[in-house]
Symmetry: none
Subunit: 278 residues, 2 copies
DNA sequence: GTGATTTTGGAATTTTTATTCTAATTTACT
DNA sequence: AGTAAATTAGAATAAAAATTCCAAAATCAC
């Protein structure tokens, strides 16, 4: 009538739930497997049965039985679960969009649904991958700057202009290098200043050049870019990578903007704290 | 005599450095591998050559060559590097969020967590509450316009400038009314044009006035605003309301931006369909 | 254009890894 | 203690994955 098994868990959370629930009735060797997995869940995604078995101090066959006992068809099946949980969410919207178009369902509302999901996933990926220590560094540099220079063209410009708005609102001196009149504002870059340089593939050369000039002049740089191979990543700078998801030929900006908001507000808080703390 | 290769990178950072340095000289297929790995480093740790090759759109043998070109003995060798580095950033979104929040009040990490949540929720609300019929109307008006006028100041400006970028990319005539030189561009507003007016509390008067002028001149208006009590809601316009969530004194922009993306892409699709359908 | 050189895709091969099977051992029960 | 049932370990097998190799195609140099 009763008994466990049946279907395998579909999420890692359900997997743990299962372990908690009927993990106690397990025989010794399977128990060891359960304990090991519970203690080192991150290993499961990147190890072989042999390695896990060894680490749990059981023979490989015992580990296999453990997987099957939990309802999986085998180790590979169980591993798949952990691998999916581990990797970021990058659905392929390009094919989804063409599918929409081909079926004639590419209504504005359907497009919005796709962009909405992409934006949410982008932000989620950002939260998962961001390095808190780097964020602190970035904020420290910006908070000490006399003037903050904001550089970002084309797709990055909305982010730069948001930062300009945000800093202005908090009374923090910031200059948006918008290229109006094709004026070069290089000479404004002075030691003691800082720059937020924002650029995404295909990397507008103006942005890269201005950032390089800033580097030469000893201006502290926070680089906000998409890939480790970006030209901005070459600079001696605090490098913040923003994982944005493509939707067909377009790309979400939500993650970059979310990061920009957090950074600017953190800089404001840092400055205020510093002033009061004196 | 020759060079490059030699030893394989010993850290992921060194690996990226290598890609930045001589990634440009790589032949096409190997380039694809490099690009894919740079964009999805987390996949490398948990995928097979076959899977990665497929995702990078190259045959498996090309991926092998890529690994060897970088100095690794093979794929397994390269994978080892990524596995070592990535076991740490394992937790899922919910866990990660809690961890970020726990890093202390007003720390950059905690702020990011707040903005991330606000952004995600804003987007979700948007997708849930948007009126599909209104969206269709908005897209229809914009798709028929000769020129699209984009108006948005202060907090709304990033949205307007993103739209300008997006329309330009699709070859759709659009003018960003940015107020440079304090020039009034009223006289550009002509019957047959359309306007996207964007404004959030406290509603910059410039935006409202320009939108009113557009109304007088018989220009079709799509109003993107926050509340039904907004001055823009008084206009004879297609009114799209964007529900943004506050984070302290700040407010997410993710929903507005997501809506802007969807609308601009839908307009592009509508125009293309119309042209071909003729 | 012609030949030399590089790059490519796919099939063949080797290695690694997962999985099954069975005899031996342990445990539970009377 | 004796028997039945459950559990185990390790060897055998099957499956999947990595890696190599080579002929065809593309690119380059002249």
């Amino acid at each position: 009538m009763d008994h466990d098994d049946a279907g395998a868990p579909h999420t890692v959370e359900a997997f743990y739930e299962r372990l908690r629930h009927d993990g106690h009735g397990l025989p010794k060797r399977l128990r060891q497997c359960a304990d090991y997995v519970a203690a080192h869940p991150d290993k499961v995604a990147v190890s072989t049965v042999a390695e896990l078995a060894e680490a749990a101090d059981v023979p490989p066959s015992a580990f296999m039985r453990f997987c099957q006992e939990l309802g999986f068809s085998g180790f590979s099946h169980m591993q798949k679960l952990f691998r999916e949980e581990y990797t970021q969410k990058w659905p392929n919207y390009a094919t989804r969009l063409t599918k929409l178009r081909d079926s004639g369902n590419d209504t504005p509302a359907a497009l919005l649904a796709e962009f909405a999901e992409a934006g949410r996933n982008s932000i989620e990926n950002l939260a998962r991958t961001v390095d808190a220590a780097l964020l602190d560094e970035a904020v420290a540099i910006l908070a000490q700057a006399r003037t903050i220079h904001l550089v970002g063209n084309r797709r990055a410009f909305p982010v730069a202009s948001y930062l300009a708005y945000s800093f202005e609102k908090m009374g923090i001196p910031a200059i948006l290098h918008s290229g109006v009149g094709n004026l070069k504002l290089d000479h404004l870059l002075a030691r003691g200043d800082a720059m937020i340089a924002i650029s995404f593939a295909p990397y507008a050369s103006d942005t890269v050049e201005l950032a390089e000039e800033a580097e030469r002049r000893g201006v502290g740089i926070v680089a906000l870019t998409d890939l480790p191979t970006s030209p901005l990543a070459r600079l001696d700078a605090v490098r913040l990578f923003v994982p944005e998801i493509d939707v067909g030929a377009f790309r979400s900006l939500s993650a970059a903007l979310t990061l920009a908001m957090a950074v600017s507000v953190a800089v404001g808080a840092h400055r205020r704290r510093h002033k009061n703390g004196k």
